[in-house]
Subunit: 123 residues, 4 copies
């Protein structure tokens, strides 16, 4: 079976790059929010998230930065906290044929919301 | 701030419908996989998933069907099991302006994989 | 195979009631934190969580209350937010033989932490 | 506030070691089930899980082994799969005062179930 032919011939390369990157961003948020971590384990967690989502179809690269100021504010008496979506600053690079889409999540103060959007598309 | 103007003017309505539906599909999978359930609680779980993802931006409707044959095969001595991605058959309807995208996940035997794809786009 | 004999003869009924309730509390937190919801869908989500964890071994009943004041503070421009652990007030009742353990999670201001503890044991 | 005095004086050190280890085992399962991974990323994922749960109260050490035979069987056309509970073989060491509890999860064929139990208690 040709998966691309059977399931993806109804959308363009540009649309599919957006599609695959968006899936992985939704996945990243909902898989890892809630994970116990602190400043010491943050780099390892960032790397594990990058490697995990980097396996999904069309994903070229994932860059995860956890906002350490927000971590500080959420810090508990037990010296760790749970990852929440507001701490995430992530770029996912997805590529189909010659189209590279960069999907971003970052916390937007005015919306009080970690917004996912298409930061750039390079064709 | 006009969110649409600031963050989404670089993509078309059709692309954004795909984008928002794909995010919600990735979210759905990774939020709810692992949830304890059985045949008796399946309808309530399907409804809770539908209501939850239906809140996300641009999502018009979510239809969740859990494959009960796959549930049967996964059933344990303790009369429940964990939801896994292979059991999911879901349609997410996302709409931006006049474009409706239908995002689907279903298990594809040949790929041994719960495939997410764009089932249809109505403009 | 007698599961109880093989795997649980090294602990008392009281210890096992604590054990099973604690597993389900850890499970509840990490399964459902991150779920999109708002005031309108909160009751359905509470019920779905109760039914789900109520299936696990030894669990008699689960009572979930989501703190709507904390929901209000977390509310976004998009009219929903993600469930976080600080919003949870939950009691899990686990019973082994004649011992009933009540496991609780509630947010403790002084610790800035959603604390899990054994609220009561009735023998 | 003395947390131990206020919240944990109703249970013994042995009971609390069991309690804390059980919470972390339930947490581990429901946080990480669903994570995309393959043979290449498995060691990094195991380490990230160990570090994460190792932060929780009373946890001394966490040892995670993912069953690579079960990974092979679940492998997809896309060269990765989702972590499921049946692949987990984990020991969590929790210590309160002089009591060390070893909490285990392993897949038990006869039950078709990833069983959590108290493997040993050293006093």
């Amino acid at each position: 079976m040709d998966v691309n032919e059977k399931y993806f011939s109804n959308i363009s390369s540009r649309e599919r790059a957006i599609f695959e990157g968006a899936i992985s961003m939704g996945a990243l948020f909902h898989q890892f929010v809630g994970t116990p971590f602190n400043k010491k384990t943050a780099p390892g967690l960032e790397k594990a998230i990058e490697e995990s989502l980097g396996l999904q179809p069309a994903i070229e690269k994932v860059e995860v930065h956890i906002d350490l100021d927000r971590l500080d504010k959420a810090m508990t008496e037990f010296e760790y906290t749970s990852l929440n979506g507001d701490m995430l600053d992530v770029k996912i690079y997805s590529k189909i044929d010659n189209v590279l889409a960069i999907i971003r999540i970052e916390f937007v103060e005015e919306l009080n919301y970690p917004l996912m959007y298409v930061e750039d598309i390079i064709e």
